[in-house]
Amino acid sequence: MLETDGVRKAFPGVTALDGVSFSLGTGEVHALVGENGAGKSTLIKVLTGVYRADAGQVRYRGEPVSFASPLDAQRAGIATIYQEVNLVPQMSVARNLFLGREPRGRFGLIDFAAMRERAGEVLRGYGIGSDVRRPLGSLGLGAQQMVALARAIEAHAQVVVMDEPTSSLQPREVDRLFRAIGDLRGQGRSVVYVSHRLEELYRICDRVTVLRDGRLVHTGPLAGLDRLRLISLMLGRDLDAVRSEGLTRFAERARSHAAPLLRATNLSRRHVLDEVSLAVRPGEIVGLGGLLGSGRSETAKAIAGALPLDSGGVSVAGEAVPPGSVGSAIRAGINLLPEDRKAEGIVATLSVRENIALAALPRLSRAGIVSEGDVDRVVDRFMRRLRIKAAGPGQPVGELSGGNQQKVLLARWLAMNPRVLLLDEPTRGIDVGAKAEVQVLIDELAEEGLAVLLISSDLEELVEGSQRVVVLRDGAVVGELSGADVTEEKIMAAIAGTTDD
């Protein structure tokens, strides 16, 4: 149906795809996996017309094609369902579904009655029964994604590319999506399915292609491929290493018995958080597990004073932190590294220097006037310590790689001499080398006596990094694991709600 032959794509400094020959059969659900930076998204973008290959060929139904734009690919029948829904939230569900293909009535005018009726019909087929006149944005994310899928199918898509479609879905919505995917397969349409959730791949995919460092390392049927073998293909490590890795690192950790430095008690906010309590001792890294939307980021934001609470409180070293104010949380030594680095972390227009000094400015000033010498000293110290790779402190932070941006943000907080660090997905979207560096740094900081709360969707990182893991589901704590119980299986069991205790 759709295939690539020796596709190469390079960006300044990196070869994202190196001679990849990928083939998608008719009526097949094909898993595309690999670690961050393996080239998955680049391959998708080449397939869907966002990028053009530097070398090699893309063939669709046997014909060589070169799509000029995603729209071009769409017209040919290749649709993409992105992680964030790409529809217009203010417009009604029906209008989104039919934008550009509205049913016409008299004088060529749009026939809204017919449109609503058709829309209701179509969406009921996907298990969505809500009023199609409602603004799309008022629907749940799962339903929105389903509308996007319905739109693609209505536009006669033969190939649907799904990029992490389940990352923000409830289990019930995932089931519904899988039923829809099953239907597509039945109709002879093909699906490229990108996900980190191995369990899902085994549920619905027929074949799998594994990418690593821009190269195709494996392609074949998924059934019969051992899960651990698949992981080792993705990581490029041999099986024994994967098996033993987590265990060896555990042994090195001693449990801390000091009194908790950070204590959050019964944090509650309607529909978001439900009596969440947790404590972190100095020198301890506590993981916060759960699916996206389980209240992980919200817990961190609540502790950092960035999310107003209905009830509950936070204390540092026994002293209550005034609620609902980022300023007082920071004064108490609580610092949050937010999940969305671009939107909530860096100030892209400013230099590395200004970004590092941002939070600490009042401390680096006298009578409201910035002491440039002090700023230089602090910036220099942390650029060295965190090995931030930049042309110099004056380089705009927007030009740095993701990993270095993350280090700049860490430096911003370390300049505040924090006592508690809340790290929300600190290694997401950064390359392997920088990831390891950041992980080592987190360990070092804990050893220096900081209390660290670590949020990660990467179970492996959670298991390796934390002494204890608190698991959230639907905004409530559903489990706490410590010591030898901190394993991927037990975390997943807690998330799934199948723990025996």
Binding site: L87, P89, Q90, R95, G100
Partner: protein
């Protein structure tokens, strides 16, 4: 994800608030002043407001598409001058000249905005200056006022049916056509989609550049037409009246419930907003001893009250700082 009563009230107010307030003011005006509800006075308000309303129709398209058009005040004046100048060659030239020139202005602005992705605010600010410059150079730096020399053309602005001037009827006709285009054609859907989420709209196959160009072209055409009608009504191409009108027009659109962020709004509210501004002005003129500058104070305060209400009822979110 559930709609609260407050959100529903907010959305209701945003859509119909201008109309409700307009109704309330009409009632108050009737009760307070004998001379208010006379056919002559109401007809006067309607006719006087129709020029602003016509321009505001174009502005509504622009703002729903997520843009802004600062050039309309200058184009309005330019249109008036061109119409008065053109009237010596007959009614056809008097109408076509302003439409062609202002249309070209709108078209060029649209092309620049769509192709270079420069901010509409900047591009139309330049358009404002350029159109004003052109108007001044046509009138010997504002010293010459062309008189309308075609009676037929003048009658378009001055004629009336039952105290309602032709310009109001023209406005109603334009409104009817515009509503159909905005609500019932693919073009209208595209305008909403672009204002709601431009990137998504592009991915969904909306011809973003073309739609934007048409939107600014429309705005330019309507500003020119309104200027021509105004010249017909005044029998001359006045060079001062209408400068700065863009701000009143934006105010009318915002009062009418169209969000400046784009993607939402409608034409009915815009017309109500324009009439509302006219009624406020008329009512203040009815109060003896109150200077006309008071009208600005009230309009400004009213605009502030409207946007505050929108915010308080509609869009309070916790993550806003």
């Amino acid at each position: 994800m559930t709609t609260t009563t407050r959100e529903r009230a907010g959305s209701l107010f945003r859509r119909h608030g201008a109309l409700l307030v307009l109704g309330a003011l009409l009632v108050i005006g009737t009760l307070a002043f004998d001379s208010f509800t006379t056919p002559a006075n109401l007809g006067n308000i309607a006719t006087a407001s129709s020029f602003l309303a016509i321009v505001a129709v174009g502005m509504t398209f622009v703002i729903i598409s997520g843009g802004i058009d600062l050039s309309v005040g200058s184009l309005f004046v330019l249109g008036g001058v061109l119409a008065a100048y053109g009237s010596r060659y007959g009614v056809v030239v008097a109408l076509l000249l302003p439409l062609v020139v202002c249309g070209v202005f709108g078209l060029v602005q649209g092309v620049i905005i769509a192709r270079t992705r420069m901010a509409p605010f900047i591009v139309t600010l330049a358009g404002l200056l350029a159109a004003r410059g052109l108007m001044l150079s046509l009138t010997d730096e504002g010293a010459t006022t062309y008189l309308v020399e075609d009676d037929l053309f003048a009658s378009i602005g001055q004629g009336a049916v039952l105290d309602v001037g032709y310009p109001f009827l023209v406005m109603l006709a334009i409104l009817a056509v515009a509503v159909v285009f905005l609500q019932r054609t693919g073009f209208g859907q595209n305008v909403y989609a672009i204002g709601g989420n431009e990137d998504a709209a592009a991915l969904m196959g909306v011809p973003v550049a073309r739609t934007k160009i048409v939107v600014y072209l429309t705005s330019g055409l309507l500003a020119g037409l309104a200027g021509a009608l105004n010249a017909a009504r005044l029998s001359s191409g006045v060079t001062i009246l209408g400068i700065g009108m863009e701000l009143d027009v934006i105010a009318a659109v915002v009062i009418g419930g169209t969000l400046l962020t784009g993607g939402a709004g409608g034409l009915g509210g815009t017309i109500a907003g324009a009439l509302l501004l006219g009624v406020i002005q008329n009512l203040i003129n009815q109060i003896p001893g109150l200077s006309s500058s008071f009208q600005q104070v009230v309009s400004g305060a009213f605009l502030a009250a409207v946007v505050i209400t929108h915010r308080v009822l509609g869009g309070v979110r916790d993550d806003d700082s």
